[in-house]
Amino acid sequence: MSKKKNKQKLEEKVMSQVKTGKISMKPKWYFAVGSLLLFSGVVSLSVGAIFLINLTIFTLRKRGPITCWRLQTMIENFPWWAPILAIVGIILGIRLLKKYDFSYKKNFVLIVISFILAVLFAGFLIDGLGLNDYWARRGPMKGFYQRLEPRNGFSKPGRRCN
């Protein structure tokens, strides 16, 4: 009897809030916007991470072989924010991927490894295609790239180390 009463109470409590409008359904567009933001988040974090990895490769290449660097100069001048932000982007991207249903239906470790490899591959590919050198010479990114290029204290590509 008390179980039945409890059941009725629970139903009444919830339904009274529904009927009086105390609680209302969130509209469909709210969830559509949420999905869109989630998707855009994954895409922009991936693109951002690819760009930063590609920038790191570009900077390393422009500074020549590691043996030519003085450690202190390297620490001072290397744009560390690029690889650090790339790692942060990858981590956030993985966290967003976890919100999708496939993350628990498929092997998530494999998804994470594939995601990281895809981002790294895309970063190397862009550099390999010479897009970095093109952007460093022309286009709106020219100034940004030129700031990353080494001035003094680093070997230039193709130059021998002393």
Binding site: N6, K7, L10, E11, K13, V14, M15, Q17, V18, K19, I23, S24, M25, K26, P27, K28, Y30, F31, G34, Y104, K105, K106, N107, F108
Partner: protein
Amino acid sequence: MYNYKAMLDLSKLSDEEVVEITRTKNKEAYSEIIKRYQGKLMRYAKYLVNDNERASDVVQDAFIKAYINLNSFDTKRKFSSWIYRIVHNEAVNLINKYKKEKPLFENIDFDSGINIEEEYTQNEVRKMVKNCLEEMSLLYREPLSLYYLEEKSYKEISDILRIPIGTVGTRINRAKLIMRQICQRKKINKN
């Protein structure tokens, strides 16, 4: 008049159809969902939080959250897995709030070759689950109660707990071994 007629028809409809009516035509149809699920969800919540009043709070909050987010439910999927998932989330939040969780046997490795069902019948296992469940950690208590007491399939448990189907199987097997140890200890203590 309309409501009465609608209510009569609702009992013949599937959960997903009732949800669609609640969303588009008559929000009071939600009471049909509550009627269908409150008993099952109360029982499930009780297994998770080990307390009647808290279980009642969990279920009430879950129904409210489900109603607020009803438009996010995809009617091509199973409603029961969706609502059980909400109860799971609410229960976990409550457990974290009160920190009453007992991490019993959680980090112990077990022989995976033992099949408890070779020694006991399905009904005996179900009885054991009911008696010894509250002493288990949530990690194992949940899949075990969903499988034996709520009679959910591995696929449904995977959707409720958001873990791979293989992990569901592993947890249930480990949970059975833990349960056997707990039940044996209980028997010894009684004797």
